[in-house]
Symmetry: C2
Subunit: 410 residues, 2 copies
Amino acid sequence: MSWTLEDARACDAADPLADWRSHFLLPEGIIYLDGNSLGALPAATPGVLARVTETEWGRHLISSWNRHDWIGASQRVGARIAPLIGAEADEVIVADSVSVNLTKLIAAALALRPGRGVILSEPGNFPTDLYMVQGLERMGLCSLRLAPVEDFAQALDGDVAAVLLSQVHYKSAAVHDMAALTAAAHAHGALTIWDLSHAVGAMPVALNPTGADFAVGCGYKYLNGGPGAPAFAFAARRHHAGLEQSICGWMGHAAPFAFDDAYAPAPGMKRLLAGTPPILSLAALEVGVRLIGDIGVSALHAKSMALSQCLIDDVSATCADFGIALASPPEAGARGSHVALRHPEAYPICQALIAAGVVGDFRAPDILRFGIAPAYVSFEDIWTAARRLEAVLRHETWRAPEFAARQTVT
Amino acid sequence: MSWTLEDARACDAADPLADWRSHFLLPEGIIYLDGNSLGALPAATPGVLARVTETEWGRHLISSWNRHDWIGASQRVGARIAPLIGAEADEVIVADSVSVNLTKLIAAALALRPGRGVILSEPGNFPTDLYMVQGLERMGLCSLRLAPVEDFAQALDGDVAAVLLSQVHYKSAAVHDMAALTAAAHAHGALTIWDLSHAVGAMPVALNPTGADFAVGCGYKYLNGGPGAPAFAFAARRHHAGLEQSICGWMGHAAPFAFDDAYAPAPGMKRLLAGTPPILSLAALEVGVRLIGDIGVSALHAKSMALSQCLIDDVSATCADFGIALASPPEAGARGSHVALRHPEAYPICQALIAAGVVGDFRAPDILRFGIAPAYVSFEDIWTAARRLEAVLRHETWRAPEFAARQTVT
């Protein structure tokens, strides 16, 4: 693809979402293509955090649980996430981390399918998803079965309690067919648990239209909730009455302030709460979720597909000679909102690009990921990033020794 | 006890910790005696949160995991908590909530005691402690046995995997003898799990000197970490090599960024991590923990005992005629840092006191709790609170209809 800076600027001028970029505080001189790992800071967040900290915590202290509805925050923010993922307000709650919510929902699925002990997933799914099953496996509660989704017709049998998959793959960005896989699971009497971490906020998700049973998702990627923001959990309303899980804390009790010795679950999703929710982190998440809801996931998805296609077309045309290969599906509809490129020297290339002001990330062993957060990434960003990638590859600046040492990056 | 406002002020003038009150932002006109539920806001916290949000998240974005050591925050803050509870730096980690950490450590204790399936606790322990056992019980992994600690000699047998108790009772403030109960548990081959939520930050805790095995504790009470602050977990170093738990997320993996399909636990306490930690809430917690460490728990405990005794003596002398009875142990050494009073109309009395500018809290069915956070509560606060309580009781202002309706308060 031969497009110019002027072409990119023309795309930005025509972009109906362009003005939303000003709702984020982006650092000068950086092109940030890692919003799939940590979303950018919404401009409103510092003020909200200052208010929650200084007025609500500092001045109103314990009374804020009622006065500022801290006690309802988990359900309130969950209700705001619901329309982004094709769910009803009472089907989503914010709680804990993706990992902890997974263990709750895997246990819930096992309880709903007595006599079945297999959780079916695919190799290479996001590790925490697989580890959570392995944790329950070590306690003798289930066993993990891994098979490529192409082989699910064979892998799905009467032992499978639930299918556990990511809607968008964290590395390749490949999108699974939620409707078809949910139907296949149901045809064998199994439930589905979807990890929406790399989908929510960047593309529409259709939990209820596809008949999905359970889901979890991340608050700190495309929802821009801040580092380690609380996660969310979804359960279809038809499962609420029979929803059993193992991490039953006082905040999920039917009457937490009765301080009974015996656990009695709260109605609906509230029983998925365990301990006291982290209010400061929740307040930041609420800002991000509102912002994404205001922009709208359909418009975000359209822009994401357009930006991603520009990056893929540009890199395919300009960088193919340097050993770069597309590791994401080529069709826009089959991808989430990031683009994965493969190169044997992906690690130092990533570091050299960061030094050149383009922040993507590396995923072992050979993947360069570029997150295309459509709420704040522009077409000019994509054009410039492609030019810098081309320069890093053409001039082999990635061979400089300072780019070789590996550091921990999340 | 007949003491005057001048006596109280003289106590404040002689108080070596008096100046630390200025390190907290306390609201004007309120006497805050609920720091055992939600600790006050340290003066340094808003600035730290603004820096973490605007500079670290907003400007440095994903690079902050290394650049600002977000990745090490769980261990770093855990190491700061360690000296407050008689532990070594590598024996404590900050993670999740008290509830979630309890379920991890109960599972770990069960794994260390194969063939034993009973968790022994006492009736009326903080509900989430009991609920967490019941959650594992529902999955067939253990059973909960409840007995008053006086009957533990009978209740402790070869089926007990672990004894689960609170160091300080959330309602009565009664302190358990950690050394004696740990020795009793060990004599029967059982482990101990201590909930330090109402102890940490207000009194010295002696985990290693008493041979305790496991502990959890709360960040938002006497550690002043903010509403829903992350909690911590302790495991004695001798258990680290064999520490197995069920909620094994990617942050607890030996090599989280290798993204292996198979879980392999990180060495030591790090394996207790599950998902990505909530950095904003962790940053606030770190401020509170540093502050308490700087003041020193021995000095805090001495002041707490002095303040509590003044309150008890005053109320005993001035309010006994109005049906108030002490519900905490009368001896200072047998109490934690709050004072519980019993009255059949505790709920409206609590509300009337709040309206009079003294914030304590109510615990069903008949308990008024006054948290004596020694870092920022003064002797004059105690004297004034006692006068207002006396007035509420003497003039029966609590009978006003607006104080009758119950609200949710945490």
